[in-house]
Amino acid sequence: MAHLPDDDLPSSFDIVIVGTGLIQSIVAAAAARAGKTVLHLDNNSYYGGCWATLMYNDLQRWIEVHSKEVTDEDESTVVTQLNEDEVSVKCNLSLSDKVTNLIEINHSEEEEEEDKGENKTDEEALVESVPINEEPTSNDAPDMPINNEPIESKVKVTWNNLGNQKKRFNFDLIPKLLYCRGEMVDIIVQSGVSRYLEFKSLPKLYCSNANHEIIQVPCSRADVFTSSIVSMLEKRKLMKVLTFCAEYEKHETDYQEYIGHPFTEFLQSRDLTDNIIQFILHSIAMVDESETTLNGLKATQMFLHSLGRFGNAPFLYPLFGNGELPQGFCRLCAVFGGVYCLKRSIRELIVSSDNKQLIGVVCTTGQRIQCSSFVGPAGMLSSGSVSSQRISRAIFITDGQIDGMDEKISLLTIPPASDDSPASRVSVLQLDSSTLTSTEGTNMIHATCKSFGSSAKEDLEFIVQRFFSTCTTPSDNKPRLLWSLYYNLSLSSCSHSTETDSSRDVKSDLPPNVLMVSDPDDTISYEACIHEAKKVFECLYPDEPFLPRMPDSEDIIYGEEETASSDQLAGETEEETSANQKNDEEDQHNDEKDQEFDEKVEDTSTKQNPEQNDSI
C-alpha cells in the first residue's frame, strides 16, 4: 500500500533496529531520547513481534502464516554491490519455526453438531431459533437480527454468533503483568510512556492446591490472618518469613549460607511446612524450585513491595493488552524523531573488512542504509550466543469466570504436580471485558507454562477438563468454553555482558556494534526485559542517560497551562513562538503530568521516587 511517491527511507542513521519487540522498542526510545537518529523496522504488519497483542483478524493471519509447512525460502539471488573493503553478512528472515503445534478450536461447531445429532431439549431448540447474543445488539454487530423480547439467560453465546464482535478481542501472544513497584512502572512513568497507557489492577491472586481447589493467595497481613488455607501455627511462621523477605537485605547473616543454594533449601531452613513452601515458591515468588535463594528473596520482596502502591494489588494489566507497551515506546521514539517502517526488514549487514565494524545494512527492498550500530532479534544472525526455550500457550474464550476465581481480572498459579498434570507451573490469567481484550459477557483466559510434553495442547488441555464446561463434559457451575487456541513458542535469549572482554568472548563472531536481544522470557513479569534493554543501551551508549525523565517541573512557570490559550500567545512574534515551541510543549506535559500524578497516585503510595516528590 505504498502511497508515497518515494518509498525509500533516509539513507543514513545512527542506529538501525529490527523488530518492534519490547526490548528493541525500549532501546529505540532511549536512543531517540538521547538524540540519536533511529530507524526502526519490523517485518510484520503489526507492532510487537512476540510481544504483540493481535486483533482477531491479525490473529487469523498469524495462525495462517504459522500453520504452513516451513518451506525453505528460495535464497534471494539479489546481489548487493559491495566495495572492495566490505563483507556482507546474510540475515535470517524466516523465523516461522518459532511457532509450532498451532491448534484453533471453535467449540460452537462441536455444539451445533451435538444439537443436530441428538434429540434437542426444548431449551436448546429455543436457543437455535434465536441466534443472538445476550447483549443488546450494538453498532458493532449490525448483521445480527434484533430481537426485543427478553430471552432470559437461556441464550447461549457461541463463537459463531459473536459475529462482528470478534474484532473487539485482543489476543496477547505472551501475557505478562507489571509489578506495581517493578522497574517497568518506574520506566514508563519516568519516560512519559505512561501517558499512552491505562491499566487495571489485579486485586486478588489465586493458587490451586493438591485437591485442585482454588484458593485465594493471602497477600497482606490481614489476608494471612483471615485465610483459611493455613493453620494458626503456619500463619505466624508465614508472617515471619514474609516480613523477613520484605527486608531481607537487613538480615544478610540469616541467608548468607544459602546464597548459592536453591530458594527451597532456604525456605526449608525456616521451619516451614511443605504447604507454605509451595505457596511462597509458586504463588508469591513465582520462581522454579531450582531458583537460587537470592533470586527467590528478590522476587518475594518485589511482590510484597508492590502491594499497596495502586490499591491492594501486586500487579497491573494494561488495557487492550500487553502489546500497548512496545507501541508506547515506539511512539516515544517517533516523537523524538525515530523513523518507523513496518513490513520491511534488512537482509544483509555490511561489515568493513578492515576493522570488522558494521558500516551499514541492506533493506529487504534492496536499499542500502548507512548506520553506526545495529540491534536485531536473537536468531536473526546465525552467530552469537543464543539459547532457546519452549513454552506452551493456550488461549480460551469462555462465557464466564472460572468457578472460584471471583475477581474478574485475576491470576491463578497451578503448581507443578509430581504425579499429575502439569509437570511445570502454569499461570492462568483471567481477563474480563473491562480490560478491553474481550467482549461483554465473555472472558479471555490465558494459560502459560514451560513446555513439558510434546505439544501445548497436551500440556494445557487439563485446564479445560478442570475448569470449563464443554459438550463432552458439560457442567452447570463451570463457564462454557467457546473457542480455544493452543501453540508452542520457541523463545530465544541471549546473554549480555557489560564487561567488554567477556562479551567479546561470547560473540566474537559479531561486529562489536551489532547487538542481539532476547525474546520474552517465561516469567509473568517484565523485570528481565527492562534489565536487558538497559544493558543493551549501556553497551551502545555508555555515556548517555537511559530514558531520562522528561524535562523537570522546576523549569515550569506555574500556571503555564493557561498560556496555551491563544490570546496570551498571540502577542509573541512568530520566531519566538517557534523557538519556544518544543519547550512549551514539554512543560505543558510535565505540568499536567505532575499535577495529576500527585492527585491520582500519591495518596495510595507511601514511597515515591525522590524525583517525583521534588515537584511538589
Partner: protein, 205 residues
Amino acid sequence: MAKTYDFLFKLLLIGDSGVGKTCILVRFSEDAFNSTFISTIGIDFKIRTVDIEGKKIKLQIWDTAGQERFRTITTAYYRGAMGIMLVYDVTNEKSFDNIRNWIRNIEENAAADVEKMILGNKCDLEESRVVSRERGQLLAEEHQVKFMETSAKSGQNVETAFLNLAKDIKNKMDRRNPGDDMGTSQSNVHVTAGDSSGSGGGCAC
C-alpha cells in the same frame, strides 16, 4: 485540587505526511505558524481549553509523531479517541485519495462511534490547488462527516473546525448520558495521567 475543566476530549489528527497536521495543531493551540517547520519532532500532543455552551472543555490533541509517513501508525494511537480530524492537502491529489485509506484504518482501529471531520488544508494556495472544494464536500458527504477547508498559514477555519468537532462530541455525549460527567473508565489505573479522563479519581483503591 479543583479541576480546571468540565470535560476532557481526546482528539487525533490523521492524514498523509506533509498535509500540515502539525501546523494546524500549532495554529490552533498557540495561534502560530511557521512554514519552515518540517517534521513532527518532539510534539506528542497539545492542549487547549475551550468554552462550549458554558462548559470548559479541555481538548487534548494528538499528533501522529511522523508515524504516518510509511503508514505505520500504531493501533495504540487510536485508543480512547473521541474525535478525529482527517486532513488532506488541496494541492496534493494523492493526499486526498488517501483519505479513504485513512478512513478504513480508523474503522479498523478506533471506536465505532468516533466523531470524524475532513479538512482540506492549505486552501490559501489557490494557484496550486488541484482538489476542488466540491470534491472535498462530496467525499465528506459520502462518509457522512463534516467538511471544511482550512489554512494553517492564515488561520482560516482552524478554530472553527476544532470547535465544531468538540461541539459534536459534546452533543453526542449529552444525548447518551444527560447530566452525566463522562461515564468512562472509573476504575482504571493511570500510573501517570496526562491522558486521564475528566472522571477523576481513576485510581484503583
